[in-house]
């Protein structure tokens, strides 16, 4: 296919040194870009105790425990090395200072005092699914998840509707002020949300939408990117199709939703993907609009949770993984659409 820019002619079998360098670069990239995410996912399956282990392991190892007769709770297992004896597995009953009280599971009645440096924990591979299950029981996690899903779905549907309506008018009608409207919409691309943060807060407050999910949904449903993307696509739909429908006395509204919308499906799909990502990942607007706990989105919950003094990392990590999961799935299945869509429109 492409003749690459760095290479000179090379044989089919021999690897040029620039090829080697390229693969090394890609491999370093893979570790730097994927490594941290993988580390996060693996860590999220560790128990709180396993997270505290030092040095940390990549796979989620947890200390083995065993129920010993005479004790209600399962006891942690250790490998005990004592002078002149073969190492043996013992359960720990308790610990005072530098001495641990251990018991041999085979002889539950005999306890032995062991200095703690003579024992090492016995670990096994164990995925702590509890981190995930507990989120729904111990925290208001279901609520945060619902808020995020609600905002994402409703905002995306409205975005598709509003933007396609505007794009339809801008691509299929000749009306006075059409150019001006288009320029006005496109010009909002140059107004970053950060610089109108304070007045947007006032407007949302004035509309009574503070601490309401609609306060996050409504400001976001008109996007210049969406209008632009859809208009470009609709321009390629032949006007003859619309004329034929008009002959059959179809109303303009019907032409819009029965003819133009279905034909714009590819562009709508790209916008839908973008919109889902924008809304799911949104942070600054929800941060100022939603201040009450029960309206938090996942992003806000994560932020609030990580700021707490005694961060329970095992839960925080699990919450982070759930938050990145939908976007990761979308990407895994629709990678090609996303990358070509972005490369074509130059938007993110």
């Amino acid at each position: 296919m492409n003749m690459s820019m760095l290479s000179v002619t090379r044989g089919r079998k021999r690897l040029h040194w620039t090829d080697v360098l390229s693969y090394v670069y890609l491999l370093v990239g893979l570790i730097t870009l994927f490594g941290p995410v993988l580390w996060l996912v693996m860590s999220s399956f560790k128990t709180e105790a396993a997270l505290g282990m030092y040095p940390p392991s990549f796979l989620p190892y947890a200390q083995k425990s065993l129920v010993v007769t005479g004790h209600d709770q399962p006891l942690p297992l250790f490998l005990v090395h004592q002078d002149g004896q073969a190492p043996r597995a013992m359960a720990q009953v308790g610990r005072i200072g530098l001495m641990a009280t251990m018991v041999d599971p085979a002889q539950p009645d005999v306890t032995v005092q062991v200095p703690i440096q003579q024992r090492i924990p016995i670990t096994e591979l164990a995925f702590a699914w509890g981190n995930y299950a507990d989120l729904f029981q111990k925290f208001n996690f279901g609520r945060f998840l619902w808020n995020s899903v609600f905002i994402t779905v409703v905002a995306t549907l409205l975005t598709l509707l509003f933007n396609s309506m505007a794009a339809f008018a801008l691509s299929k009608y000749q009306f006075k002020g059409r150019k001006a409207v288009f320029m006005l919409i496109i010009s909002t691309l140059m107004i970053p949300p950060t610089i109108i943060l304070v007045p947007v807060f006032l407007v949302i407050n004035g509309a009574g939408l503070l601490n309401s999910l609609w306060g996050v949904i409504l400001p976001a449903v008109a996007t210049p990117t969406g209008v632009f993307l859809l208009r470009q696509y609709m321009l390629s739909i032949p006007d003859e199709l619309l004329e034929a429908a008009r002959m059959d006395h179809a109303s303009e509204w019907r032409i819009y939703w029965r003819i133009v919308l279905p034909l714009s499906a590819p562009a709508l799909a790209v916008l839908a993907i973008f919109s889902v990502m924008w809304r799911w990942n949104d942070f600054l607007l929800p941060l100022i609009v939603l201040s009450r706990n029960e309206f938090f989105t996942l992003q806000l919950a994560l932020n609030a949770f990580q700021g707490e003094l005694n961060t329970q990392w095992n839960y925080l990590l699990a919450m982070t993984v759930i938050t990145l999961l939908p976007v990761t799935l979308v990407f895994a299945f629709l990678q090609r659409h996303i990358t070509t869509g972005i490369a074509n429109a130059g938007v993110k």
Partner: protein, 326 residues
């Protein structure tokens, strides 16, 4: 699907009535109406209010009930007793945020565009599994800023994997996020990590648009790879490079989310940037100084306008269209 059809059918009478009473051409306004309404209320109206806030004082949220103070907010922001010493400024945090943002933008944009370019060049070669590698480099772009920050915070905390690695080599642990210089380094690094894939993609599209016969001609002339790169690839890619540079700069100036979660602007003001200053002044601190926050917003807006005009100027000069930020 049926529910959508029902929805559209319900709106049918409204539009049919509008069509007969307004005529087909004025009906267009009904189609663009919802969009314009949202833009009007949530974008254009706020811009107007921004000016009212910036030129009025007090803590009242209602624009009309605020006393007019002219340019006082800007004066408060900019006033220093001695301009060679930032701590004598009335709002020294603003100056520090300004300085940090400048330093961040120069470093982050420079390094990120360099690495994006190298990555795009590598991805444009004949390599096995190009789609996979492109996906690898692009994936972090999709992650939310909060998630990005937490991924790195988890590794950079004092008991994290980095310090474990140091301990393995018998080196002392480093407080990556509470040491001022390290914290700044990581804000730059993490933001490059998160955003570089986007720029790589734009540059890759540019590389693929370079006509192949140029390379064939270079090959006939036995041009060295280095000469081919500097005499053909880079000049041909220049329009895309300019777009990427300015886009990245516009974004870098507005850095907030990742850093806010990663370092909270600290230690001290080491990683406090201009948007965080706006957020703190207007929302987070006890007394909400909307006027001051709006004045800082307008200063930021002015800077962004300059950057945007620069982009338009440069892109027009090199004739590239339609690469616009959201």
């Amino acid at each position: 699907m049926r529910i959508f059809a029902l929805f559209f059918n319900l709106l049918e009478p409204l539009f049919r009535w509008a069509q007969t009473s307004l005529g087909k051409h004025r009906l267009a306004w009904l189609f663009v109406g919802p969009n314009l309404l949202v833009f009007g209320i949530f974008t254009f109206l706020p811009i107007a209010i921004d000016f009212v806030y910036a030129t009025s004082g007090g803590v009242n949220l209602m624009p009309l009930e605020r006393p007019f103070t002219g340019l006082e907010n800007f004066q408060i922001l900019l006033e220093c007793r001695d301009y060679s010493d930032l701590s004598t400024c009335r709002k020294d945090v603003f100056w520090r945020a300004l300085f940090n943002t400048f330093k961040f933008t120069v470093l982050q944009v420079g390094l990120m565009v360099f690495f994006s370019l190298v990555t795009a060049l590598v991805l444009n070669r004949k390599i096995l599994g190009r789609g996979f590698w492109r996906g690898v480099f692009f994936y972090p772009v999709l992650l939310s800023p909060v998630v990005v920050a937490l991924i790195w915070k988890w590794m950079l905390q004092s008991q994290g994997v980095f310090n474990a690695a140091l301990a393995l080599w018998d080196l002392p642990a480093i407080e990556w996020l509470t040491d001022a210089s390290w914290a700044f380094f990581w804000t730059v690094f993490v933001s490059i990590w998160a955003h570089m894939g986007f720029y790589t993609l734009i540059l890759l599209a540019g590389l693929q648009a370079i006509p192949q016969d140029l390379y064939e001609a270079a090959q006939m002339d036995r041009a060295s790879p280095w000469r081919t790169l500097t005499r053909i690839t880079l000049p041909m890619l220049m329009p895309n490079l300019i777009v990427v540079l300015v886009l990245a700069a516009i974004r870098a100036v507005q850095i907030f989310d990742e850093v806010f979660v990663l370092t909270g602007g600290g230690p001290g003001t080491a990683t406090t940037f201009i948007v965080q200053f706006i957020y703190q002044t207007g929302f987070a601190e006890q007394i909400h100084l909307y006027g001051l926050a709006a004045a800082a917003s307008l200063a930021l807006a002015g800077f962004l306008v300059v950057l945007t005009l620069l982009q338009l100027r440069l892109t027009r000069a090199s004739e590239v269209g339609e690469k616009v930020p959201r």
